[in-house]
């Protein structure tokens, strides 16, 4: 059973994992019997050393990988039985920031950030002001037309975060979101994520930077594929 059932939300669960295990091919299990419940509107931190399986756990939640065992539900939808044609709609409700940023090299910063809205069919005249305003806020207002290859690591990270939050997702998953930025920008980005959480977005952040962790938020530690709640 999920471990943090004590956390209740009037809006139900954003994510639930029940006895989830995962392995790549025929290798060792990278996750083993993981139970996790993230109430809607919660902000949760996931810590653990490199190679502990944090990214794999996040990949399961945003449907980039499948578990070898166990049940995963997102917004109450069981991913194992969810029809394939429903997955894109579910993904639109999730914003993802990855360690490698996953920016499209051939598109400008503006086009990269606008991508979720463009895919959702929002008119360019509607999304353009929002994208420019957000890029301005994350300090990339002067880099709208820059190609990702010309950005620094920190700029790429900010662009990736902007892309993840532009569509105001219900769930935001961030894998080491401040790994490449200076402390001041790191704090600014965490403030953005906290602000989104205050507006109702469930936030799950994987990090090994303990200074970023909100003192009030629940923290889970992943070690050797096993998940334990720290507080």
């Amino acid at each position: 059973m999920p471990e943090n059932r004590g956390l209740t939300s009037p809006y139900g669960m954003a994510v639930e994992l029940e006895n989830v295990s995962m392995r790549y091919g025929r290798g060792e299990e990278v996750l083993s019997g993981v139970n996790l419940a993230l109430p809607a509107g919660s902000m949760t931190f996931l810590t653990g050393p490199s190679g502990a399986g944090k990214s794999s756990l996040l990949r399961l939640i945003y449907m980039a990988a499948r578990p070898s065992r166990g049940l995963i539900s997102v917004f109450g939808e069981d991913l194992a039985t969810l029809p394939a044609n429903q997955k894109p709609n579910l993904r639109k409700r999730i914003g993802v920031v990855l360690q490698d940023f996953s920016l499209i090299d051939s598109l400008s910063v503006f086009e990269n950030v606008a991508l979720p809205l463009r895919v959702s069919g929002v008119a360019r005249s509607v999304y353009a002001p929002d994208v420019m305003e957000l890029l301005d806020w994350v300090g990339l207002g002067h880099r709208l037309h820059a190609q990702p290859a010309t950005l620094s690591g920190g700029e790429k990270q900010r662009a990736a975060i902007a892309r993840a939050v532009i569509s105001k997702p219900e769930l935001l998953i961030a894998d080491e979101p401040t790994g490449n930025v200076d402390p001041a920008m790191g704090a600014r980005l965490i403030r953005l994520l906290t602000e989104m959480n205050r507006m109702g977005t469930s936030v799950l952040i994987a990090t090994h930077d303990h200074e970023l962790i909100d003192a009030q938020a629940p923290v889970y530690n992943l070690r050797g594929g096993h998940l334990e709640r720290q507080r």
Binding site: Y62, A64, A84, N85, K87, P88, N89, L90, R91, K92, R93, V96, S102, L103, I104, D105, S106, L107, S108, F110, E111, A114, L115, P116, R118, V119, S120, R124, A128, P129, M132, E133, D136, W137, G141, H142, L144, H145, R163, S167
Partner: protein, 300 residues
């Protein structure tokens, strides 16, 4: 927060990058295929047109050969044959082939030599027939038999059948070539889509991550390869048009003696215009089906 005063393009940039270096081999293969397909179609159409004209000419004419008969003068029989033929309904005209013309007919087989004066040259009468008057030759045969003139009447049907057979063979060959080229183009486009998807895996992953449905992603490949097919098709059709023009010039502007007259008519122009569109459709459909099938199987 205030929006900066920086303008953006009114039109969104294409999500799939135009990678001319990676797409170049596909462009050339498609161009060659459309070039060959256009030439096949134009050749098939030209052969059909030539066969149609030859067939019509043959059906509208017949040749009467007067057999030698002891005690009868060949020239006199020839004159009488013309006179009898001119009285029969369905025969528009009858003309005796004179000795010089008859000797000229032997030249292709015997060469440009002086023929002996005593060489028995057949006495011939050329007939022009009205359309739909096939029975006129039977009536003529009966009339000449009654007049005791021994003849062979050649209605040219043997040649007509040969032409029809040859035309059919050319058309079947051209049709098979077209089918193979269409299938080949579809297979090439499908293969290129697969490799294009592999090369653009990161983009596809990002698109899936932000909630793009398989048909949205497939549509990007449809547009990409549809455009490529159109451009390659246009280049191939242009090449075929230039080749056809060269052929027209080389064959004496369509007036070569033994060759069918070759010109580019409206149908040929339509082939050249439709071919690039058809290539674009084949590429787009093949790319869309391949991408959709691949994305759906990944999602299973």
């Amino acid at each position: 927060m205030s929006a900066p005063d920086i303008t953006i393009d009114a039109k969104a940039a294409p999500i799939l990058p135009v990678n001319s270096r990676a797409d170049r081999p596909l462009f050339f293969v498609l161009m060659i295929m459309v070039f060959l397909a256009c030439l096949s179609a134009i050749a098939a159409h030209a052969s059909y047109r030539a066969a149609h004209h030859w067939g019509a000419d043959l059906r509208a004419s017949a040749t009467v050969q007067i057999k030698p008969a002891s005690g009868q003068d060949g020239v006199e029989m020839q004159i009488r044959t013309v006179q009898i033929a001119q009285t029969i309904a369905g025969i528009d005209s009858a003309a005796a082939v004179d000795d010089a013309q008859a000797r000229a007919l032997l030249r292709p087989w015997l060469g440009d030599v002086t023929l002996p004066a005593d060489l028995p040259i057949p006495h011939l009468v050329e007939l022009s027939l009205s359309d739909g008057e096939e029975n006129a030759l039977n009536i003529l045969g009966q009339a000449l038999e009654a007049a005791a003139i021994p003849v062979d009447i050649d209605d040219h049907q043997r040649w007509g059948a040969d032409i029809r057979r040859a035309t059919k063979a050319v058309q079947i060959t051209a049709s098979l070539a077209l089918i193979l080229l269409v299938g080949g183009a579809a297979a090439v486009a499908g293969f290129a889509t697969q490799s294009g998807m592999s090369a653009r895996r990161i983009i596809i992953d990002v698109l899936e991550q932000v909630g793009a449905a398989p048909h949205y992603i497939a549509r990007l490949f449809v547009i990409r390869f549809g455009k490529l097919g159109l451009m390659a098709g246009a280049a191939g059709a242009l090449g075929a048009a230039i080749m056809a023009l060269l052929f027209w010039l080389m064959t004496g502007r369509g007036r070569a003696a033994m060759m069918p007259s070759f010109t580019l008519d409206k149908t040929d122009m339509a082939i050249l215009i439709i071919a690039p569109v058809f290539a674009a459709i084949i590429c787009a459909v093949a790319a869309g089906l391949t991408a959709l099938s691949s994305l759906k199987s990944e999602a299973q």
